[in-house]
């Protein structure tokens, strides 16, 4: 699973714009991951300008 580090996230939406599966959403000043849509393709993690998304080790 992906882990969003909210302390780092700047809410810029770059990850949302590349997600092919509509698994990310900026919702009321918080980046939300819709786990049911996520295929863990990691595009969002690779494109984040700030390293605010990481792979959860669990």
């Amino acid at each position: 699973m992906l882990n969003i580090i909210h302390e780092i996230c700047d809410l810029c939406g770059t990850c949302v714009s590349v997600c092919p599966f509509d698994a990310l959403e900026l919702f009321e000043n918080r980046l939300k991951l819709k786990e049911e849509n996520c295929t863990q393709c990691l595009l969002c993690l690779n494109v984040c300008p700030l390293h605010a998304i990481e792979e959860d080790s669990e």
Binding site: D10, C12, G13, T14, V16, S17, V18, C19, P20, D22, E25, L26, F27, E28, L43, L45, N46, V47, C48, P49, L50, H51
Partner: protein
């Protein structure tokens, strides 16, 4: 605030305000919904704009402008600076004030505006036709009806996806950006600097845009393809540390800029997309302020005419796509090809090009001759470009 408008615009940036203003000027009732607390904040932008471009649409007010720049330097990987000989007239804006004013202009023509409104879905009638939006205002679910919805909701444009328009960007078509506004730097405020180097900013460039003699927007964009394992923030920290070690950081913002082929589909029934959401930024430079205002104007005009003609179908709204293409489509396509060519140059090729250009008489170092030299001295590139133009 009413329960029904002719047009609801989602997003209060330059594209949204411009579309709202041009529709309101034509007598339409318009509502702008902005998700953030303030119009104009945060500023996810390097704030540079061409003087000629801006003046085509607006009469610049002094309070919009932090600084006027007259010259540009392109800096090669080995540090060779190429000074563009001709006068490059540009402004470094104060986007907080600028965006606020653009929204105010729309309001003066009768547009209603609300902030802190998070649009989370489109509203549809019994037949599935888009007829408004659903939003949260101060945490409360609300709805508003409209005959047309205009999505000016920025690079992430989720609304377009909900409307069935594919706005997903490929990694090579987004520039991953970070910018810091820094103080305690020494600058010549007349100069904008652009650094091209795969070491400093792979698949993109670093910009240094002075807001005055000791304050600047310093940022960079790198191709989404090159953002891992090192990300834009790592490149920028390194650049500032090495070039401006005494800088104090007053602002840090991240953002994604669409540097993508043009979208051939920007409308569907009762729905239009504009600005970064429609990938209208210039793919070579990432500049999008004037282009957003321009497209917003066309978008608002077509929306108003469509409502007057009582036909807001996709077929009618496609007039916007056509007018946009006639106005800027060809430049957009050319810029995308240029981006692909320039970012394919190796650091060696960039260095050699810079040395060649600096042998030209200073008065001949125009942007056109710089690009020509870049292309002439890289036969590989010429054949690539011919291929793109013939394809």
């Amino acid at each position: 605030m009413r329960s029904r408008y002719d047009i609801v615009v989602v997003g209060g940036g330059p594209a949204g305000s411009s579309a709202a203003r041009s529709a309101a000027m034509r007598g339409k009732s318009v509502l702008i919904l902005e998700k953030d607390r303030d119009i104009g904040i945060p500023v996810r932008c390097a704030e540079a704009v061409g003087e000629i471009g801006l003046k085509r649409f607006l009469d610049p007010k002094p309070e919009w402008i932090s600084n006027k720049v007259n010259f540009a330097r392109l800096i090669a990987p080995d540090g060779t600076a190429v000074e563009v000989s001709h006068h490059v007239g540009g402004y470094i804006l104060n986007r907080k004030v600028f965006d606020f004013d653009l929204a105010q202009m729309a309001a003066q023509h009768g547009a209603n505006i609300m902030t802190k409104t998070h649009v989370y879905d489109l509203k549809r009638d019994a037949d599935g036709k888009i007829n408004g939006v659903k939003y949260l205002y101060l945490g409360k679910p609300c709805e508003v009806e409209s005959r047309i919805v205009i999505a000016a909701d920025g690079v992430e444009s989720r609304l377009s996806r909900l409307a069935g328009i594919d706005t997903v960007l490929r990694l090579q078509d987004i520039e991953t950006c970070v910018q810091m506004t820094v103080a305690n730097v020494r600058l010549d405020r007349q100069y904008c600097d652009f650094y091209f180097s795969s070491r400093l900013a792979p698949g993109g460039y670093v910009w240094v845009f002075p807001k005055n003699d000791h304050l600047a927007n310093i940022g960079l964009g790198i191709s989404g393809e090159h953002n891992a394992p090192r990300a834009a923030i790592d490149y920028l920290k390194e650049f500032i540390q090495s070039h401006y070690p005494d800088a104090s950081i007053l602002t840090t913002v991240a953002g994604g800029v669409p540097c993508a082929p043009y979208m051939d589909r920007m409308v569907t029934d009762h729905f239009m997309v504009v600005g970064d959401a429609a990938h209208q930024a210039n793919p070579m430079t990432g500049g999008g302020i004037v282009l957003a205002i321009w497209a917003g104007q066309i978008c608002g005009e077509v929306a108003a005419d469509a409502i007057d003609g009582n036909d807001t179908s996709q077929k009618r709204l496609r007039q916007y796509e056509k007018l946009w293409y006639d106005a800027g489509g060809k430049v957009h396509i050319r810029s995308y090809r240029l981006k692909e060519a320039v970012y394919r140059l190796t650091d060696d090729e960039l260095n050699r090009t810079a040395h060649k250009i600096n042998k030209l008489a200073p008065e001949n170092r125009t942007l056109v001759s710089i690009f020509k030299t870049a292309l002439l001295h890289n036969p590989k590139l010429i054949s690539d470009i011919i291929k793109v133009f013939l394809s």
